[in-house]
Subunit: 434 residues, 2 copies
Amino acid sequence: MRSRVFSVLAIAALATACARIAAAGGVSGGHADAVAPALLGLAVLLLAAKVGGDLCDRIGQPAVLGELLVGVVLGNLDSLGVHQLAYLKHDPAIALLAELGVILLLFEVGLESSVGEMLSVGPSALVVAILGVVAPMALGFGVSEWFHPGSVYLHLFVGATLCATSVGITARVLQDLGRSQTPEARVILGAAVIDDVLGLIVLATVTGLIAAAGGGSGVSATMVGGIVGKAVAFVVGAVAIGYFLSPSVLRMAARLRARGMLLTTGLFICFLLAYLAQQVGLAPIVGAFAAGLVIEDGHAEPFYARGSDKLHELLHPLLTFLVPIFFVRMGLLVDVRQFFDPAVIGFAVALTAAALIGKQVCGLGVLSPGLNRVAVGLGMIPRGEVGLIFANIGAAMGLNGQPIVGPQEFSAVVFVVMATTLMTPPLLRWSLAK
Amino acid sequence: MRSRVFSVLAIAALATACARIAAAGGVSGGHADAVAPALLGLAVLLLAAKVGGDLCDRIGQPAVLGELLVGVVLGNLDSLGVHQLAYLKHDPAIALLAELGVILLLFEVGLESSVGEMLSVGPSALVVAILGVVAPMALGFGVSEWFHPGSVYLHLFVGATLCATSVGITARVLQDLGRSQTPEARVILGAAVIDDVLGLIVLATVTGLIAAAGGGSGVSATMVGGIVGKAVAFVVGAVAIGYFLSPSVLRMAARLRARGMLLTTGLFICFLLAYLAQQVGLAPIVGAFAAGLVIEDGHAEPFYARGSDKLHELLHPLLTFLVPIFFVRMGLLVDVRQFFDPAVIGFAVALTAAALIGKQVCGLGVLSPGLNRVAVGLGMIPRGEVGLIFANIGAAMGLNGQPIVGPQEFSAVVFVVMATTLMTPPLLRWSLAK
């Protein structure tokens, strides 16, 4: 125990030293180079992410929560008079690497599920997933309209951020409880995967509507139908074409006499589909997810036969480097002072309630008798990376010179993610122990 | 054979399709997002790098040459009326990732050699290395002064680019010939490692002098001494302090309950030292190399005991992704039309001769009798990544509004790298076969 306290103190001392070095760098400021602050920022972010992850793990919480929290701490140091790390929020290099990180994260999530699995999760998972998207979307829209009457695009975005269940957090809790092979777990995980796809289609539709509104055209039912159709067509089309093409692409790549071909080919497919998604007006993460979905382990046999590591193992170091940058950066963008405003904290709490209640409706969708419906509903509560990604896209999109998701709403969404992440492990443990 | 031809054709067709898509993206241009062109650029660069590497491997040349050559082809398409890929040369995201790639490459080169090895390579390697830095530096300075009289900083930079032997290419050729355990190989590889350090000190000195000149102060012998002293002090100091601190940092990191701690800690040390190097006026790669040098495999025992992969294995996917971006980008920046100018091609050929003759002087430094001195001299010929990195830094540095290394000189340095890389394998094979 003493050695642990020592190690935490030592790391805190190291972090302080880094912050001082950062401060010194910020003060001298002689080097106008773009790389120098990014290098220091990267070192600070990577260390901070791991310290946060460690502390959360010690109190039984998922590491992603720790990464968000250290981000919040680092991002609000300037309220305490420490301004030297404030540049991290807007550093273009950090922003680019964070975005690459989230693209690769969605690629990895896609790799973990296969088209076959998606088709075979069964009617329960599908009904649970649809209810779990519709109910929180409607409740989120309602809460947003109550607190900020009028701005329909904001309501759509806020609703969308409440749709997608965070597969990672649920899976981790079920695994920790030794319950990942139960029927409830299969329904939850299957529904969470369908959730992701539905959530991405919702996002594509909302962003498409906003882009059309920015272009001056009004919103009509035909247009909504057209955008939903385009989103569904891209996802289904990319998956269908990719599913038949990717084996041949990988087989051809295996013939090239160059090292690292499996990872390079995977990244090539991921970046190409992410780019194409963006070209048709969708978020790049939709394409990255589709790319992961169409590459199946069986297609890479020629590489594995020669002793190559699996593709997801090769991706792992890239995720280790880039994904924490995304989550710490999300925390950095939260302005804690906004929670002193009763309206903001009220909005955040009401949204959290909407997120919670919305997913309990899911339990009603379980068709097989004898399953623990409460546990299924509770297992769908956590919102994580996808909600944050949506909020981030909303903050970056603008209409009439105003961001769709303003700093206050952004902070409220981060609050929802943190609150749902915090409450799921104890609730699920309680429900499954009954 | 037919299947190979087919695969090359199919890949060429795929590359053409990508270029078309890129062209379409360039024409529509509606999306002002910074990520979209970078995503497509990344996909194109990664594919192009591997196709180039494959073609070079088939004709017995190292992959790095292929990456440079495809870069030259892609970068000069606009002379043929294809302008859609021209943005790749100046895309900030590609530039940032290329720079990260070269920082991680030097970190990896540092990891491959240890402080103990550096101290034990013996007097032959040290004398060979010093001769191999002084002679090409002097010859390069002379050639540059002959072709471009007056600009002393350019001469210093040109001389510096001829200093460092490319360890990778030599090691690969020796390995391919089954000669990597001979005494000649040990002298060559030992000298190449010392070369790297000496080259970095030369670079630090030259950039320091230019920074001082930009600040308005004249160049004096005291100042040169001061800058050389600072460079040596940083390298020796960082290595000495890091060598004693890094085991404790790694031991503390091993106590954190977070995944990916070994890679994260390695990257943390790398980025921190790269940043510190830049803060004292050196290139970030000097710090990255020092970081690699101070981390020894033995220090990471607590991680390996738990079944972690080795640090250099974890780094591998990052290098697979980022390093080709650096080399293809170097090729992109070469303007082939400049070689139609007799002065430029004359300069390039004269520099190549200086690079060749300069390293033959090394053979004289072999103290042990009975060794093949010609083979040692020939093994030191290839200039690769380090020469390009220096040229790149020179192109980015300016004095009185002019870059130190102009586009013509940059192209000439890339010519030297390509020519020396092309000639080494056959010459070394011939000399060792005698």
